[in-house]
Symmetry: C2
Subunit: 253 residues, 2 copies
């Protein structure tokens, strides 16, 4: 019996951000489950059964993968980025919790990956150099009041914010509400970066401030970074400035 | 002129967590700068000049690497985990900010990696499945009052906490103070995990609750996870339980 379920982080896009562990697991699995665009990134291979599904059916996808693994297959569930950060690891665990007792006995292994905020931070310099919060703006699974409470709490703690899922076609307005909240709790001069599709062909970075940021720039492929009070730019001639949150919390140099 | 500085994330320990991009950069560099134990992980190679240094001299190390790159070398600064998360990217940017103008013209590239909280989360299940804060408990570079303020703010927002640098030989008491703060702001039944040296030979995971956690378990190699109000265990017969922070913020199932 070789039953096994891997939850595999593909990283934010290009294959160069895949770990060796993830590559090795992708070469071993007999079945792969994932959101269509993630599965489409994988090279087709003889003997690999591909189960692509829509977005927002994560729990069904996880249950299908667990059932397949329980039948004795070596199954992979793929996530963009890190499966542990706003991705498939939680959905798989929820499915285990709700499923038949036999699923709890399965050999399940989560393989970490580079998450979108890390790719964005690497491109920008070191915006996550101090303490930070990672927050999803989607209210599909939690009430907007909680999101607002968290935006305010993160601001009270002067944390840098890495905001996932800032906007989608179904949720175009929340990013406006989020900026309204942030503007009453952080200085207008706070650096803001819209990091869109980092590492992919349509990558686009927009550097601005909280006062001047245009929420319309955010979409499903955008990772938004909002600085702490210590976050600042480092100007560079002929190159994009770096964004830095220094390790120390003192006066600016 | 091939002058280049890579800031390279080595991941939390085992080579299987390295990205291909990081491996490729390690094969290209002429000089490597890093904290001794990180540099010691690399395979020796003809033509590679190794510059190992002590911990807590990050700014000097970064400046030395920048100076070397400015002389026309292809230089790597290595970090454990992700250089953007409590690691060398911020030190390199601070050195650029404080250094000669010529350093701002350098080709500097940060290569992201898997950070300790992600390796810990992968081992535990999905504890970072909801919104979370990453916080360093070291007060070498920021006042303890700020750390306390952030522990309270993170609790007010009911964020999961990933705590880096919880204790060291020079700072054995702060983790006790941190637990005292957390115990007045979160339920005693809150799940807590001490994830020590994940992926390394001396890996050790301790699962407990906020009320029962022994702060003495934390050391420099420990990543501490403190749950949100929704974080819970999934019991498994014959296996360690999973730790889950579900994506949804509602009643327990």
């Amino acid at each position: 019996m070789t039953a096994k379920l891997y939850v595999i982080g593909l990283g934010p896009g290009p294959e160069c951000w895949l770990t060796r562990e993830a590559s090795d697991a992708l070469a071993q699995i007999s079945d792969v489950y994932g959101y269509g665009p993630y599965v489409a990134r994988l090279a087709a291979r003889a003997g690999l059964c591909v189960h692509a599904s829509d977005n927002r059916v994560e729990l069904d996808r996880a249950a299908a993968a667990l059932e397949r693994a329980a039948s004795g297959r070596i199954v992979g569930v793929v996530s963009g980025g890190d499966p542990g950060v706003f991705a498939m690891a939680a959905a798989v665990m929820e499915a285990v919790e709700q499923g038949p007792p036999s699923w709890r006995a399965l050999d399940i292994e989560v393989l970490p990956g580079v998450s979108a905020m890390q790719a964005a931070a690497a491109r920008l310099g070191a915006p996550l150099g101090g303490d930070f919060c990672a927050l999803s703006l989607s209210d599909n699974l939690k009430p907007w009041a909680l999101i607002e409470r968290r935006l305010i709490a993160a601001s009270a703690g002067d944390f840098v914010l890495a905001i996932y899922n800032p906007a989608s076609r179904a949720r175009p307005r929340q990013i406006y509400d989020a900026f309204a909240v942030l503007r009453t709790h952080r200085a207008g001069s706070t650096p803001v970066a819209f990091a869109r599709a980092i590492g992919r062909a349509d990558e686009r970075v927009t550097l601005t401030t909280l006062a001047e940021a245009d929420p319309a720039l955010a979409d499903m492929s955008t990772l938004l970074i909002v600085g702490a009070s210590t976050t600042r730019w480092i100007a560079r001639e002929g190159r994009a400035p770096f964004l830095l949150t220094p390790r120390s919390y003192g006066a600016a140099p």
